[in-house]
């Protein structure tokens, strides 16, 4: 066969080569298709942030008063939410929903961490953050820092926040971005949720992401 092919004119040999290339390309595509077994994954949350936001990176102080960076959470699916402890309504509601999600994840919850970053570092000391996050559940970390550390973190994730006027009782509110960012185990942003997303939807995507990111 080889000898016969060698005896053919070059032009004919080239013509035989074309279908062979096509066959190899088809085979390669087929093999790639097989590697992704089953139908493509369907996500309930917004996946358009993937590749459009920087990787998880920060240097802040956790609620155990330890300096931590994003490296401390490598290997975990990270849920990042910004808020403040003097927020009596939306922040507790969101953290409650995230706590419910973690409960529904069951054993998979050990592979996830909720990072609650304060946009009110003047009042939110590590001790205050600790009391706050532990009131909601486990696998939840409160992060705070200096004003400039928080500003850098917020800027990185396009999180806006601004301090409102005094409420007349010695306090003030902080308007803040309500985005909930979800990162994969290597710190790549994967999903965007909002407080309006339902607990079943967030749970669905978190389960799927943990299963995708962490091989059983």
């Amino acid at each position: 066969m080889t000898h016969a092919a060698h005896r053919l004119p070059t032009r004919v040999r080239r013509l035989i080569g074309v279908p062979r290339l096509l066959l190899m390309a088809t085979l390669a595509l087929f093999l790639v298709g097989c590697a992704q077994s089953g139908p493509p994954l369907v996500w309930k949350l917004n996946t358009s942030v993937a590749g459009h936001l920087p990787d998880l990176q920060f240097r802040l102080t956790d609620d155990a008063n330890q300096v931590v960076t994003a490296k401390n959470y490598l290997g975990k699916v990270v849920v990042l939410y910004f808020g403040y402890t003097h927020c009596p309504d939306v922040c507790p509601l969101t953290l409650t929903h995230l706590h419910m999600m973690m409960q529904k994840l069951g054993p998979l919850a050990k592979d996830a961490r909720i990072l609650f970053v304060s946009v009110d570092p003047a009042r939110d000391t590590p001790a205050v953050m600790h009391a706050y996050v532990t009131a909601f559940g486990t696998h939840m970390v409160g992060l705070t820092g200096t004003e400039s550390e928080i500003r850098a973190m917020a800027k990185r994730y396009r999180v806006a926040f601004n301090r409102g006027p005094s409420n007349g009782h010695g306090g003030y509110e902080v308007n803040h971005s309500s985005a909930i960012y979800i990162f994969g185990v290597k710190g790549k942003v994967k999903l965007l949720a909002t407080p309006a997303d339902s607990v079943p939807d967030i749970t669905h995507d978190m389960r799927q992401l943990i299963q995708q990111e962490i091989a059983p």
Partner: protein, 152 residues
């Protein structure tokens, strides 16, 4: 707030109101208002707490809630949380209208009471009295059940 936005918010609040059998109903004494599902989300360290309830107007005229007070807290404010343009905001509400034979829900993420500076130690399981003030001068005192931070 424009009238249209207010009506929309009220409609959403009404739709969100869901009855539950386990909640005690406070009978109206001096007003034609009934309050159910009254609870406070207790947060640690005397941080501001959210107060929630379903307020039902049994009369043929609109009821206007103008504020609230409690011996258990130095300050109680009527607030509304809003979400717009990806931002969470909270602002004071001067008056909340409960339509005739209608209801408004003070609910997480919407209208709520902000209770600050407890006058004594408050624990989960306690009941704290909250007096609702209406524009016609009438008041109604309701016991709010104290629930944990992650109550839902």
């Amino acid at each position: 707030m424009t009238a249209r936005r207010f009506m929309l918010a009220t409609a959403i609040a009404c739709l969100a109101a869901a009855p539950a059998a386990t909640w005690a109903v406070t009978p109206a004494v001096k007003t034609s208002i009934t309050v159910t599902h009254a609870w406070v989300r207790l947060l640690p360290l005397d941080l501001p707490a959210g107060g929630y309830a379903v307020i039902i107007n049994n009369s043929a005229t609109p009821a206007r809630l103008t504020g609230a007070s409690s011996p258990a807290y130095r300050s109680v404010m009527l607030h509304q949380s809003t979400q717009s343009g990806g931002m969470s905001r909270m602002h004071m509400v001067k008056q909340l209208v409960i339509p005739p034979h209608g209801r408004v829900q003070l609910a997480p993420g919407s209208y709520h009471l902000m209770l600050t500076h407890a006058t004594h130690t408050i624990a989960v399981g306690d009941k704290v009295p909250v007096t609702l003030h209406f524009a016609d001068g009438k008041t109604l005192t309701v016991d709010f059940a104290v629930r944990p931070a992650n109550a839902h």
